[in-house]
């Protein structure tokens, strides 16, 4: 045998209506290795992992564990084989606490009575050991996406799995957390666990993975050792062309103030204090302002207050010179506010609607899509979808009539971005717009943001991604514990300096200009 493989997936083919998601793909995972899986949005990565986890049955191909062929009919089978998975979109019970979610299904008990304290001790030990900070008693619906992610990882570690699948675990983490996660993964691999790791971030793959398998449009392209390759080689394998990692843009020419926030305070759902404290800022026409910060420092609540999803405790918001503090969400939207939300499944999409229905979610009531009698104009809805799909390269099995739920994560995100930018807003609020996108798509979205700016729109970007923070905006505001603690010019600041402010080690008085 020579090599011992923990998992072998051989000749896997999985078809969905209108598309071959996996076309004869093979993947071999060595014991104790970290194996990255790379591919464009919709290439079939999540599908392949779902096959391994027993969520889908492949039409062709076999799976071997430790050299023996196995049948994985459902996630329970996978669990018994020691295979655990952190999904791209978390599968947590919203109204349960973090602890309950972690132990769900494997609750320690004595005579049928829960022994939660034992579980709590084990969870907190794991949390401590791997630096995965959680609040075990918080409700899932109240915590940030970052903490949900950590909950998912703990869930997998708690079950003592030996084959760990991470489907885009770093998409929602902060640079700090990503570094920690990389370390955790290395430790786990050193302990003998085998890890499959999906990411669109090439730097991460280069750093942590031993080998990398690339797939494109459902087909196997190749497997390379990361020690013998480069980032540009990987990206060329993935998209079939060179990708420009740097955003090209001209000097910005800020005009009049389009968005002005004064003294905004928003209550927190998770704790008694306010999540946003007396924040003031202005965004002008023709500039991109970025709110940077570590996840959970009030960015989410700030955006919700701004867009009307949460009520303000106090403060004033002006959009294009008009007071919108008490306007409804719809009024704000019609007046020219667009919002690319942080959580695409919770807010961004109606997953059971088709792609075309989702693409008119913000405009369905306009005369173009609804006639005077209140009937929908299906022809226009279809045309709108076809245009946006073409323009933003939204890939799916069946085009406009694809159910949004069946689309790949990155393509769902592209659909939301297409919808929000195409609304021609005056102010575009984009919360982590490139989360989960492949390098090619990120390049395209960044260009779109800059194009909005150049067209005289105001763009407010909220990002956790330091590369994005340094590259895209014209001005950076750092948010820490609900306050703006510093303003920076991306041309003169460094990632290290931003890091200090983001961690709360430094603080400056910011005067809103």
């Amino acid at each position: 045998m020579g090599q011992s493989y923990a998992i072998e997936m051989l000749g896997i083919t999985k078809r969905f209506p209108g598309i071959i998601a996996n076309d004869n793909i093979s993947l071999q995972l060595k014991k104790g290795e970290i194996h990255a899986l790379l591919g464009e949005n919709g290439a079939g990565k999540s599908t392949l992992m779902s096959v391994l986890f027993g969520l889908y049955q492949p039409e062709e191909g076999i799976i071997k564990k430790d050299g023996k062929e196995v049948k994985i009919n459902n996630p329970n089978d996978a669990n018994e084989l020691g295979i655990g998975m952190v999904h791209q979109h978390f599968k947590l019970v919203e109204c349960f606490s973090v602890l309950d979610n972690i132990i769900l299904g494997v609750e320690p008990n004595k005579y049928g009575f829960l022994k939660k304290n034992e579980a709590r001790v084990k969870v907190m030990e794991l949390s401590e050991k791997y630096g995965l900070h959680i609040d075990p008693d918080a409700m899932i619906e109240d915590i940030t996406v970052g903490m949900q992610q950590r909950t998912e990882i703990l869930k997998m570690l708690y079950r003592d799995n030996e084959i760990l699948i991470f489907d885009e675990p770093t998409a929602v983490l902060t640079p700090q957390e990503i570094r920690e996660l990389m370390q955790i993964m290395k430790n786990l691999a050193a302990e003998g666990k085998s890890i499959l790791f999906i990411s669109h971030k090439l730097a991460e793959i280069m750093e942590v993975a031993d080998r990398c398998t690339v797939i494109r449009k459902g087909k196997y392209i190749g497997t390379v050792e990361t020690a013998h390759t480069t980032m540009s080689e990987l990206s060329a394998m993935m998209v079939g062309r060179d990708v420009n990692f740097h955003v090209e843009k001209k000097e910005s020419k800020p005009g009049e103030v389009l968005l002005s926030v004064e003294g905004m305070t928003v209550a927190s759902k998770a704790h008694k204090n306010n999540a946003v404290k007396n924040v003031s800022l202005k965004v002008r026409a023709g500039e991109i302002v970025c709110i940077a910060g570590i996840d959970g420092n009030g960015q989410t609540e700030f955006v919700h207050g701004l867009t009307g999803l949460e009520p303000l405790v106090s403060g004033k918001i002006e959009l294009c010179g008009k007071d919108i503090t008490h306007s409804s969400i719809r009024q704000r939207s019609v007046m020219g506010l667009s919002h690319i939300p942080e959580d695409r499944h919770k807010h961004g999409l109606v997953l059971d609607y088709t792609l075309e229905e989702n693409l008119v979610l913000q405009r369905y009531f306009e005369p173009e899509f609804t006639n005077k009698a209140g009937f929908l104009r299906f022809k226009n809805i279809r045309e709108n979808a076809e245009r946006l799909i073409e323009q933003y390269d939204v890939r799916s099995g069946q085009g406009p009539v694809t159910v949004a739920r069946s689309m790949s994560g990155g393509n769902q995100q592209k659909a939301i971005i297409a919808r929000e930018i195409d609304k021609h807003p005056e102010v575009l609020v984009a919360v982590q717009p490139t989360r989960g996108l492949d390098v090619g798509a990120i390049e395209y979205i960044h260009k779109q943001l800059v194009a909005q700016r150049d067209a005289g729109k105001a763009v407010l970007l909220v990002s956790l991604e330091l590369d994005e923070v340094m590259d895209v905006p014209d001005r950076i505001l750092v948010m820490y514990e609900g306050e703006i603690v510093g303003e920076f010019d991306p041309k003169t600041t460094t990632q290290e300096e931003l890091g200090l402010y983001m961690a709360g080690a430094k603080k400056a008085e910011v005067t809103v200009s």
Binding site: Q57, P58, E59, E60, T307, L309, S328, I329, R330, Q331, R332, S333, H339, P341, K346, H347, G348, L349, V350, L351, D352, Y353, E357, L361, Q362, Y364, F365, F369, T370, G374, F375, L376
Partner: protein, 373 residues
């Protein structure tokens, strides 16, 4: 074959049919347990209903009665499925139905109104009850099932109280419309003649079908339906894109209530039954609407057929030989069948998983064959 099975519509139809057959079979088993002799005849008379009569004109007459009672059931199931699309389970339809009956009967016997004002009054009363449930849900976050059940009882006793004013002291039943409220009887449009002078057959039947089509159109073709379904699927996304979520909850329950209210009018304004003011249980029509809605695959057009079927076996139950079985048996059997119909969703899931498995086998065989060559 597999392709056909995968089709959503075919699946709905198939699962509904399977439920019906299983339901009948279980009903037969129960009859066998109680009294083996005559069990087969009994279940056949349930299945046959009006077809059990040998003469065509009698068949038509009893078909007419079944149809007359189908119309209100269609309305009830429309009421259920409409709210269900918005993510609400309007179990209060039963109470809204009662309120509809109350309003139309009082309009007819108390105020002496014609049939149209009575219908409108019934719709209004049902809608009013729906609005109460909706407002409680939207503003106080009271679960619609809880408030619906409470309102069912409130509606029942309110109706008993009000309708006591329009009956003879010596009887428990309200006046017959043909005696004291002729104008309120629904027009028969000549249908009466066709169904062997069954004077209960009338405008309610075509109206119910028209309402089913209307509901389908509203849900699938209008902006309003788009909003309602979006709210039902994902409340947060509906809020995010600025849909008036609270208003939509209230409006959809108001419409749902109006449909249920009309159901009450469609039954009592044919004069086929009088209201008994001493009853102490909510009429089953509203609850049967739940079964009809699910059996019909939550599709308004499907609801027409499922309602007819359920009414068919309910009526069929009255033909069971009561010299062999006790008088509750008819209701027991039809209730059994109706509740087994609720398994439609479960069956669909079964079909889909077994489909996936057979596909897998098929693919494997193909691969093996391919390997041989």
């Amino acid at each position: 074959m597999r392709k056909i099975l995968k089709n959503e519509g075919v699946q709905s139809l198939l699962t509904s049919l399977i439920c019906i057959i299983v339901g009948m079979f279980v009903g037969y088993l129960v009859l066998l347990l109680i009294e083996p002799t005559g069990a087969f005849e009994a279940i056949m008379s349930v299945a046959k209903n009006f077809l059990g009569y040998s003469r065509t004109n009698m068949q038509l007459k009893h078909l007419g009665t079944t149809l007359a009672k189908t119309a209100p059931l269609i309305m009830c199931s429309l009421s259920i499925l409409f709210s269900y699309k918005v993510g609400l389970f309007n179990i209060g339809a039963a109470g809204q139905y009662v309120m509809g009956a109350c309003a139309c009967l009082y309009g007819a016997l108390g105020f002496g109104w014609g049939w149209l004002p009575c219908l409108l009054f019934a719709a209004f009363a049902g809608a009013a009850f729906g609005v109460i449930t909706g407002a409680l849900k939207a503003y106080c976050n009271v679960n619609e099932v809880i408030s619906g059940i409470m309102l069912n009882w409130i509606g029942l006793y309110f109706t008993n109280m009000v309708l006591t004013n329009v009956k003879d002291a010596s009887s428990a039943y309200t006046y017959a419309l043909k005696a004291k409220g002729k104008d309120a009887i629904l027009p028969t449009l000549g249908l009466e003649e066709f169904f062997s002078r069954n004077k209960y057959v009338g405008i309610a039947i075509p109206l119910a079908i028209i309402f089913a089509i209307l509901v389908w159109v509203v849900l699938n073709k209008t902006k309003f339906g788009y909003e309602l379904k979006a709210t039902g699927y994902n409340k947060n996304a509906a809020k995010y894109c600025g849909m008036a979520e609270k208003r939509n909850i209230i409006v959809s329950l108001a419409i749902s209530g109006a449909l249920a209210g009309l159901a009450g009018a469609f039954l009592y304004q044919t004069d086929i039954e009088q209201w008994k003011v001493t009853i102490s249980s909510v009429p089953t029509m509203g609850f049967n609407g739940i079964a009809a809605a699910f059996l019909g695959g939550l599709n308004p057009i499907g609801a027409i057929f499922s309602s007819f079927f359920i009414q068919h076996i309910t009526e069929g139950g009255t033909h069971v030989d009561l010299t062999i079985y006790c008088s509750q048996i008819s209701e027991l059997i039809s209730a059994l069948i109706i509740y087994l119909c609720g398994f439609v969703g479960f069956l669909k899931m079964l079909i889909n998983t077994s489909l996936a498995k057979s596909e897998e086998k098929h693919a494997k065989k193909k691969a093996e064959k391919g390997g041989d060559k």
